[in-house]
């Protein structure tokens, strides 16, 4: 199992899209993968894997654009420094 938050997020994305080879800072939206189905799967993955709940006001696109931004969101949620 990948041993960092970012690696686990990247592993989830590449598991869902095996043909991809993305980096931590690559914009996954620009690759054309994202639809509402995958967005839902992504949110469920983050909430289950990191045992947290993403509040509505953190569900904006920039938080999910890259593995790095998702890692930062997870960090903020863990430390309780989220919006709202």
């Amino acid at each position: 199992m990948p041993d960092t938050d970012s690696a686990r997020i990247l592993a989830f994305i590449t598991d869902r899209f095996p043909q991809t080879d993305i980096t931590e800072s690559e914009d996954i939206f620009s690759l054309g993968y994202i639809n509402s189905l995958f967005a839902m799967e992504l949110v469920m993955f983050l909430e289950k894997t990191f045992a947290l709940t993403i509040p509505n006001d953190e569900l904006f696109i920039d938080n999910f654009r890259t593995a790095k931004s998702m890692t930062e969101l997870v960090g903020r949620l863990r430390s309780g420094t989220v919006a709202g």
């Binding site: 095996p18 639809n35 992504l42």
Partner: protein, 382 residues
């Protein structure tokens, strides 16, 4: 077994056996009459509320039972075994209630949660339009921001429970993306026109719901706006699909029960139908498929309870398998019953009509197959 659900609220257990007894006592005996009348009696709707079946997954602090989703699937299977129209009302009410629980603000939960849990407020899901079904990108109902709130205009069609519902979860085209709005029925500008004489689930009280310059406050918006708003729809449809899958399992079980009973008393040339190999082949296929479909639904439910994103595809598969099995076995059930199966004297004609609907609602089976195949190709890509 006697019905326990409406007798001792403090100690009752909400499980498959208890719901089966409730269905056998209060739903199955009247299902054909409901079908002919085109409506579910208010007395039964109240009784379902007393039994805690409307949205049992809501947490106790909102008046629910905190029931897990595996159990919810079992409940909807049992109700679907008795009457698909009643199950369809549970489906759409559950969809709205689930969306509220998942996406609702504290104020929305406080306002609507207890009423939805008890059934004092009944919910309906408004997505389809005269020109848009599974093609959600084609919806034309518009929500325009105004004065901090919204103005809603448009028309929704094929709304299960719409004739009776008190609260509508309406999906509309917003400024940047689809938005989900909670719209009380009594809001000025909301009008409801019943739709009668449908092929199946004839007692599900379908309606066309129109919104004419409906002014809503900011608290009408459910969940996020922007890119994530599609998740509200995806998640809500996922729960609806799960319920329909479970209800389809119930239809197959009902077909099996009806055929086993009929072939055990009907003779041809002095021989019971049950002794004939071709009849046994049909029943063996029903037994096999109902078990397989039940397991697929249970697996989807288990993944939901675990918060595992794999539940979304598991639910697609379960709904596709269970609904096609229901349509196939309902056809065979009519065949087994012969002319009796085409008459109103036996329930299999109702199962046949209801089963067909299962292949269409919450995403047609063609859409499901396309999605399932796309997933296969995606995972196999190198």
């Amino acid at each position: 077994m006697t019905d326990q659900l409406t007798q001792s609220p403090a100690t009752r257990v909400l499980d498959r056996a208890a719901v089966r007894a409730f269905v056998d006592q209060h739903i199955s005996p009247g299902a054909d009459a409901f079908d002919r009348a085109g409506a579910i009696p208010q007395e039964l709707l109240d009784r379902i509320g007393e039994a805690g079946l409307w949205a049992p997954f809501l947490p106790p602090e909102l008046g629910g039972r905190g029931t897990d989703l595996v159990t919810l699937g079992e409940i909807h299977e049992e109700v679907g075994r008795g009457c698909s129209s009643v199950r369809s009302l549970l489906t759409v009410h559950g969809m709205l209630s689930w969306a509220l629980q998942r996406w609702g603000s504290a104020a929305q939960l406080e306002r609507w949660g207890p009423r939805l849990a008890s059934g004092r407020t009944l919910g309906a899901f408004c997505l389809s339009e005269p020109g848009a079904g599974s093609d959600t990108g084609a919806i034309t109902t518009c929500a325009v921001p105004r004065g901090g709130g919204w103005v809603l205009d448009g028309c929704k069609k094929w709304i299960t429970g719409g004739r009776r519902a008190d609260l509508f979860l309406v999906f509309a085209r917003g400024p940047a993306s689809t938005v989900a709005l909670l719209v009380p029925r009594e809001t000025p500008g909301v009008s409801v026109r019943p739709i009668d004489d449908m092929l199946g689930t004839r007692a599900s009280m379908l309606a066309e719901v129109a919104f004419d310059n409906v002014v809503l406050g900011p608290d009408a918006l459910l969940g996020p706006s922007g890119f994530a708003s599609g998740m509200v729809l995806t998640g809500t449809l996922d729960l609806g699909r799960y319920s329909v899958a479970a209800g389809s399992v119930g239809i197959v079980q009902a077909c099996l029960d009806a055929c086993a009973a009929y072939t055990s008393q009907r003779t041809v040339g002095g021989v019971l139908l049950r002794e004939m190999p071709l009849i046994r082949a049909k029943l063996s296929d029903m037994v096999t498929d109902v078990r397989a479909a039940r397991l697929l639904v249970a697996e989807a439910g288990r993944l939901k309870d675990a918060g595992d994103s794999a539940t979304i595809m598991a639910t697609w598969v379960a709904k596709y398998f269970a609904s096609t099995a229901a349509a196939r076995h309902a056809t065979e059930a009519v065949q087994v019953h012969g002319a009796n199966g085409c008459s109103p004297d036996f329930p299999v004609a109702r199962y046949f009509r209801d089963a067909k609907v299962m292949e269409i609602i919450e995403g047609s089976n063609e859409v499901q197959r396309t999605t399932i195949a796309a997933e296969a190709y995606r995972r196999c890509a190198s």
